[in-house]
């Protein structure tokens, strides 16, 4: 299955950039958790496991995987439903499966599975053009995991599934009129949804986002603190382990959701630009894999995986600067979190897989 010559087509530059981001993340986790803590070592092990997972997803031809995608999808759905019944509860939501040594979060893997399923479905060579029927099926395939994950509840992760559907459908030739229509409906529906569709606490969150000062001690607190953390870093930063906001816990979950704020505080604008540059490079390089892909399946698979990743990166960094409502979305490759790390590296294994096999038949 793994031919020797393929080895020479592995995108080492992409792997190197990904590892550079992981290294920055490890450094920040080390800093915010006060040294080589248990959390830090967990992340190191997760990185190792993730690289193994990457090797696995890279080795198996993506076309073989795609052929089994309906089974994989089915297995994934069963797992997600299983979590709803047998998962362990933390922080009020049921997301994890306790494996004893490790808490697995299946929803992290659902993104890659959905990307694979949609790529297979929309990228089938024999389909000449995207039909409404195709779109309906794709939307349904997305809706099932979306609803299950939203039930956990984990709206943040559920929402990351939507960019997969949108981007894959978009490149698969979804007519532009749908996109315009969706935009118009979204704009018109937003006030109605705000008024009738949201719970009080959700409305409060949004209005707090628009004016955090109205509730500086409650919901607006994290947002204000995030801006203070970022802004106080300045150009050069306060120095490694010298941040006050993260170190003294003014910013909650600093090693997790707000790790980028801590990076901005301790490494300054310089560190921010380096990290943003690395992420941008990784995304562009991966997009290149989509362009170079041998078939539509490969291109869609890359784009599906990448859209969830990109959405999460941009949203988390925006939130880190206090510019988006606080939502429990981690920063892939940097934030603490084993499942996220393994799932992200595994999905980049798929990207490498597609690029590596661009010359094979």
């Amino acid at each position: 299955m793994f031919e020797r010559r393929l080895y020479h087509h592995i995108d080492w530059v992409l792997i190197g950039s990904i590892l550079a981001i992981c290294a920055m993340g490890l450094g920040m986790i080390y800093s915010t958790t006060g040294g080589a803590s248990r959390i830090y070592w967990t992340q190191v092990y997760a990185l190792g496991l993730g690289l193994v997972a990457m090797a696995v997803t890279l080795s198996i031809d993506y076309r073989s995987l795609a052929d089994k995608s309906h089974w994989i999808y089915l297995a994934m759905m069963i797992l997600l439903v299983g979590v709803l019944f047998f998962g362990s509860v933390r922080g009020g939501s049921r997301r994890w499966i306790d494996l004893g040594f490790f808490n697995l979060q299946p929803s992290e893997f659902a993104k890659a599975v959905l990307a694979l399923t949609l790529a297979k479905m929309l990228g089938e060579e024999r389909r000449p053009a995207l039909t409404n029927n195709d779109l309906f099926i794709a939307a349904s395939l997305t809706a099932v995991p979306f609803l299950i994950i939203a039930r956990q509840p984990d709206l943040g992760t559920a929402v990351t599934l939507l960019p997969i559907l949108l981007v894959v459908a978009y490149v698969a030739g979804m007519p532009m009129k749908y996109i315009y229509a969706m935009t118009i409906v979204a704009v018109l529906a937003a006030p109605v949804a705000y008024k009738f569709g949201l719970q009080d606490y959700q409305r409060e969150r949004i209005s707090t986002f628009l004016d955090p000062a109205q509730d500086p001690k409650g919901a607006g607190y994290q947002q204000i603190q995030a801006r203070i953390t970022v802004g106080s870093g300045g150009t050069w930063g306060k120095g490694f382990m010298q941040g006050t906001q993260g170190q003294l816990r003014f910013l909650p979950v600093a090693h997790n959701d707000f790790i980028f704020s801590v990076l901005a505080e301790e490494q300054g604008l310089i560190g921010v630009l380096v990290a943003l540059g690395l992420y941008f490079f990784v995304i562009m390089r991966a997009l290149d894999a989509a362009r170079l892909a041998k078939d539509r399946l490969g291109a869609y698979l890359v784009l599906g995986v990448l859209s969830a990743f990109t959405f999460q990166v941009i949203y988390n960094i925006t939130m880190s600067a206090g510019l988006a409502p606080v939502k429990g979305l981690t920063l892939p490759l940097m934030s603490y979190g084993g499942s996220s790390m393994i799932a992200t590296l595994a999905s980049f294994g798929l990207v490498l897989n597609v690029r590596m096999r661009r010359f094979t038949n």
């Binding site: 203070i228 970022v230 921010v272 941008f280 562009m284 997009l287 989509a290």
Partner: protein, 643 residues
């Protein structure tokens, strides 16, 4: 064909995605640049406010000593428990938990917080002053549990007085009011300032300068480390002219008598105040830790007015103590000589009205010269002389001797007494009434409109003792500004009149006879010390008024008793005035208090053991050890001679 078109569309849409992502990243970079470069200074300050707290270290006030270096007022350490609203996420919750943990009413905590609502939120609001150790322990434990991260426990110096002793001299301290802060820009809210007494007059010396400590705290409000610390500078040390033992003797005297009143004892040569008392007093310690409103209200509504400093703010008819001023006026103006004699039949008729003398049942003193008129406190003699001298000259000499004037003592809010004059009457009556000669008769024995503060009586008797120098009474003796004790320059005398030697001699003789002859001041007699003095008994209310007064006990209507004195007769070292409210005859109630002070003074001077506090004997007080009655006349002949 289809593949190629498909490929083209893919490439096109990939480019759109690329551009979209590129724009998003550029916007993110701009956002970070805006926060981290453009608004950096502002956010840097906010971050520092987050984790740096500046704690005020309250300066201990200056310590106060008596003239011999005995400690009178010091500071003790107490604990304040405060809320820092800046760090409070849920003020209601904090108030609730704090009230429960400290065992105080929630409404009380809320009221305190409300009162300080307009202050900057970084300034701690002191909720509990002088917290008990149990309160400190339970609040600190909750702090460690992160339950009360926004509550601060601070050790602060707190003023400590000797219970009620000399309360009106020291005054009291409390937190500066909004008005204080508005008027004095060196003050800040929360400062402890003197509100009355010496604490107020010498506040600037006593206050010191607060220090500050900058600490790093984490989000739970726990101190991580100290950044820098500027220690507080303690207020200046003051040494007073007061003598602790005399002060104690004076207060013991009043306590034993059971009467209210006031007294000032001073050194007639310098004006140094040796003892100063106003009874009833209050406990200044109650103010140091923030007096509660119930205690404050009861102090203010108490009909006995314990907050009033009777020695400088109470005005009382002078009674017979005024007679020496009439004598001095008559002698100095050359109206009479000391040998001028008047026959006293028990009353005198002036301007068609009969004025009674001092003896009961209308008995008379017979023929009196000045010395004996003072000794017997003969009213008829002074009616006659006063009538001869006239109100203008009486007013002139009383004023020269300090009566009806402010003494200028270093205490706040001294009031002026009154020695009436025709000008005063014209200015203060509705129809600008003129002075009636008959009024002079009442004034001659210290009645009528005469109203004097005990301290002005003390200055007056001191001026008579020292020959006419109206000393300025003062309490401050020395200040230590850091380089050792620097003597305080005593204030200059208010006025100096050189009384003629025969005036001084005659008055001193008379005053000596009051105590050592058959006079009314016998209870102040001390063998060998030539105590000289004059009693006074002043009507509180006219006889007609007494009938009209209702709801008052007899005691409220009893006369005020005075005793003014100096000793020894020649070269006096100590002088003073004792006023006993509703004490009846001054010789009975006021003189024994003075005697105990004098006894203590001379015992101290002559290195004898100090006398024990006096004891109550009937309606009067006497020395602890009863002295055998002095023989009325030297017994002639042998010891065994039968009488």
């Amino acid at each position: 064909m289809a593949i190629a078109e498909d490929r083209r569309r893919l490439t096109h849409r990939l480019t759109v995605l690329r551009v979209t992502i590129g724009v998003a990243f550029v916007m993110l970079a701009c956002g970070f640049w805006f926060f981290q470069v453009v608004q950096h200074a502002q956010f840097k300050e906010m971050a520092e406010n987050n984790h740096q707290r500046t704690l005020t270290l309250r300066a201990p006030r200056g310590i106060i000593y008596d003239r011999a270096g005995k400690l009178l007022v010091e500071n003790r350490n107490s604990f304040n428990i405060s809320i820092v609203r800046e760090h409070t996420k849920d003020l209601d919750h904090t108030i609730r938990v704090l009230a429960r943990v400290a065992g105080v009413e929630e409404s009380f905590v809320r009221e305190v917080v409300d009162r300080h609502r307009r202050e900057p939120s970084y300034r701690p609001i002191v909720v509990i002053q002088d917290a008990t150790l149990a309160q400190v322990a339970s609040v600190s434990a909750r702090k460690l549990d992160f339950e009360l991260p926004d509550v601060l426990v601070q050790e602060v110096p707190t003023r400590q007085y000797l219970d009620q002793m000399a309360a009106h001299v020291f005054g009291y301290v409390s937190e500066a009011s909004d008005k204080d802060v508005a008027e004095d820009e060196s003050l800040k809210s929360g400062d402890i300032v003197g509100k009355s007494g010496l604490e107020k007059i010498y506040n600037e010396l006593l206050m010191g300068a607060d220090g500050a400590k900058r600490v790093v705290v984490n989000s739970m409000g726990r101190e991580i480390r100290v950044l820098d610390e500027e220690p507080p500078a303690q207020g200046k040390r003051l040494q007073l002219t007061l003598d602790f033992d005399l002060q104690k003797a004076l207060e013991d005297g009043f306590r034993t008598s059971g009467y209210n009143g006031a007294s000032v004892i001073l050194d007639p040569r310098t004006g140094e105040v040796l003892a100063f008392s106003s009874v009833p007093a209050y406990d200044p310690n109650a103010f140091s830790t923030g007096i509660d409103s119930a205690s404050w209200n009861s102090l203010n509504t108490d009909p006995l007015r314990p907050l009033q400093d009777r020695a400088i703010q109470g005005r009382y008819p002078a009674g017979s103590t005024f007679k020496m001023a009439v004598a001095a006026a008559a002698l100095e103006e050359g109206v009479i000589t000391p040998d001028f004699k008047v026959y006293c039949p028990g009353h005198g008729v002036f301007y068609g009205r009969s004025f009674a003398c001092s003896l009961p049942n209308g008995r008379g003193h017979g023929v009196m010269d000045l010395r004996h008129a003072i000794e017997h406190s003969c009213n008829v003699y002074f009616y006659t002389v006063g009538n001869m001298v006239g109100i203008d000259k009486i007013h002139k000499w009383a004023t020269l001797l300090g009566l009806g004037e402010k003494t200028g003592i270093d205490l706040p809010n001294e009031v002026q007494g009154l020695v009436p004059s025709p000008e005063w009457k014209r200015a203060n009556t509705k129809n600008h009434e003129k002075w009636y000669a008959g009024e002079t008769i009442s004034v001659s024995i210290g009645q009528g409109a005469v109203a004097l503060t005990p301290i002005s009586e003390a200055v007056y008797i001191a001026a008579l003792a020292n020959g006419g120098t109206r000393v300025t009474p003062h309490l401050l003796r020395a200040v230590d500004e850091g380089g050792g004790w620097q003597p305080f320059t005593p204030p200059a005398a208010k006025s100096v009149v050189a009384l003629k030697p025969e005036t001084i001699q005659a008055i001193h003789d008379g005053l000596w006879l009051v105590v050592n002859g058959v006079g009314t001041g016998a209870r102040a007699r001390m063998a060998g010390y030539d105590v000289s003095g004059k009693t006074g008994t002043a009507q509180v209310i006219s006889n007609e008024g007494a009938k009209a007064a209702k709801g008052k006990t007899d005691k409220d209507l009893r006369d005020n008793g005075w005793f003014v004195f100096f000793a020894p007769r020649d070269n006096p070292e100590i002088a003073g005035a004792v006023m006993v409210e509703h004490g009846g005859h001054g010789g009975v109630t006021a003189a024994p208090i003075a005697r105990h002070v004098l006894d203590t003074y001379f015992a101290k001077r002559d290195n004898r053991p100090l006398p024990a506090p006096p004891i109550k004997v009937g309606d009067t007080i006497g020395p602890a050890v009863a002295i055998p009655p002095a023989p009325v006349k030297a017994v002639a002949g042998g010891a065994g001679t039968p009488q």
